[in-house]
Amino acid sequence: MKRDIWDTIIGNRVFFLSLLFVILFILLSFTVPGFLNLYNLTNMTQYGVELGLLALAEALVILSGGGGIDLSVGSMMSLVAIVIGVLIGRVGLSPSLAVVIGMLTGLAAGLFNGLLVSVGKILPLIVTLAGMYIYRSLALIIAVDPQFGPNPMPVSNFSKSFYFIGQYRIGGIPFQVLFIFVPVLLILHFLLSRTAWGRKLYGVGSNETAATFSGIDVSRVRLTVYALSGLLSALAAWVITSRIASARPDIGTGYELQAITIAVLGGISIQGGEGTVGGVLLSVAIITMLNNGLQLAGIHQIWQLGALGLVLIGSVLLNQFLIRRRKI
């Protein structure tokens, strides 16, 4: 009986994460001064948006199976951020046009990854590792302003109209939460749980051979997923450049680890084909809260990554433990 209760608690990912969330929330409220007030809590949500978008990108890619992983999300984010920055700040395009071009850049980078994975049949790990190099390097090259010598420079002379998505609020709720994150979340949830495409994605992820025999175009599903990953990274880039009012060519460094961690903690099985958007949402909330708590407690940023490393290994260990237990 006791064992059954534990099984349901750990086995039901959404329940487990909710419990973890509540425990962490209470813990941080009592131990970290400045954590539990309305301003901090609403303010915190804006930091979760960029991470959340990248985590959803990672979730889609990992769901598609076949060793699916995208190590290049951070670099794609850097690339799009600097493209948007340079177009507005140096070329003088209107922000809306620059953002559209930025989104297309992200989509193109994602498509490039997807083509190599699905048509080229190269392992996702290798493709996106190379992609990480390439997009990061492109971002640095684009960031060079010949007027100021050969070094990459950040861009920060934006017009005020560019800041609306990252800095404005309605009733205390940041714009990017309301107009970007929530819609994306709902769309992806709908796509995955209610459409034929979603079922195809799960099918491809859990059993590629079976999916092929039941007439699913595996390559096309995978191509779409990597392209979406590029697009979501581009959205994250738009939001973050607007929020911090600066486009830096190294802005996405280290984000890939966080995105992968959140996706895996949220119950996306690294083998593919298993996991939900809801789990990822809870996981985003937990990690954002943890980062915020550590920051308020004055712990160096590098420990946020260190803690994430632990959480990543721990959550996969737990996943595998559960799978093994189910088999017995």
């Binding site: 049949k121 392992l123 190099y133 640095l140 090259i141 060079v144 996969v316």
Partner: protein
């Protein structure tokens, strides 16, 4: 009779030709490429990559990956930096640097094998954890001014060739022999080719896999000591991104990321290729920013070429 066709078809040959072509181009277009100081510099820089690539080749042959090698190198830098500064013998620093690396590598292998965690996840987590521990140990400061007497292993020369390159050469010969002729070496290929078949024929999967990660850690630790002795400086970001150079060298050298195929000599050539590209671009005043672009593109092209060739051969 030597089968020329077989040699020409090997990846190692293609990489060698590329290295020769690039060297020729760089020596005609720049004056410094063939100078003694530049070649010494080049060899010094790539010896760490070449040493760690020995282990990484085996890891990738088993179908795994180790992205924590850069952090492991960094941690070994910290440990050996403190010991050298504290006036301990360089030999003790060497032993401890290798042990620290070995320990980290063993934990990687243990998590992968006993926890059934995919290698990319285990080593990605470890990479950041070790980096945070490094920061904690250094306390935000950096180590500099390691006494010159202790820096022979990183800066010394013998017969005109830097000592790190001698060490790398020695290790490459030993481990190439090991990988080709010793039972455990053959097991590594077997695990990469077909784990199930390997298991059935009596290969101990778990200890083989733990061995390759532990070895990679130990070699990265060794490279860390050399790095600390060579540069004389240890910072929180020492070794950051180093793993990418190593993985690039191994993949360019023809080790298949699907597992089961690859040689240490190939990885050495890959390391030379990456090193020469970086070096030549600096000499040509091409901004270092495009380095990633060139290396990334090379990785993709070389893997694609392999796949196309494989398809043609099966037809």
């Amino acid at each position: 009779m030597i089968n020329f066709q077989r040699i020409v078809r090997r990846r190692e040959f293609t990489v060698l030709v590329l290295i020769l072509i690039l060297s020729a181009i760089f020596s005609f277009t720049t004056e410094r490429f063939l100078s003694v100081s530049n070649i010494t510099n080049l060899l010094l820089q790539l010896s760490g990559v070449a040493i760690t690539a020995i282990g990484m080749t085996m890891v990738i042959i088993t179908g795994g990956i180790d992205v924590s090698a850069g952090s492991t190198l960094g941690m070994a830098c910290v440990v050996s930096g403190y010991l050298l500064m504290g006036g301990y013998s360089p030999f003790l620093a060497l032993v401890l640097a290798v042990l620290v690396g070995l320990g980290i590598g063993f934990v990687n292998g243990a998590i992968i094998v006993w926890g059934d965690v995919p290698p990319i996840i285990a080593t990605l987590g470890m990479m950041n954890l070790i980096r945070a521990l490094m920061f904690q140990t250094l306390g935000g400061r950096w180590i500099s001014g390691i006494p010159p007497a202790c820096r022979t292993i990183g800066l010394g020369k013998w017969l005109g060739v830097p000592i790190p390159m001698w060490i790398a050469t020695f290790l490459i010969i030993v481990f190439s022999y090991f990988l080709s002729y010793r039972p455990l070496g053959r097991h590594i290929y077997a695990v990469g080719n077909n784990p199930e078949a390997a298991r059935v024929s009596g290969v101990n999967l778990k200890s083989t896999i733990i061995f390759v990660y532990a070895l990679t850690g130990a070699l990265a630790g060794f490279a860390g000591l050399i790095n600390a002795a060579r540069t004389g400086i240890v910072q929180t970001n020492s070794g950051m991104g180093f793993e990418l150079d190593v993985i690039a060298a191994v993949v360019l050298g023809g080790t298949s990321a699907l597992g089961g195929r690859g040689t240490i000599i190939g990885s050495l050539l890959g390391a030379f290729l990456v090193g020469i590209i970086k070096n030549g671009m600096v000499l040509l005043n091409v901004p270092a920013l495009s380095e990633g672009l060139v290396i990334g593109a090379l990785i993709i092209i070389s893997v694609l070429a392999d796949i196309i060739r494989a398809r043609r051969e099966t037809r």
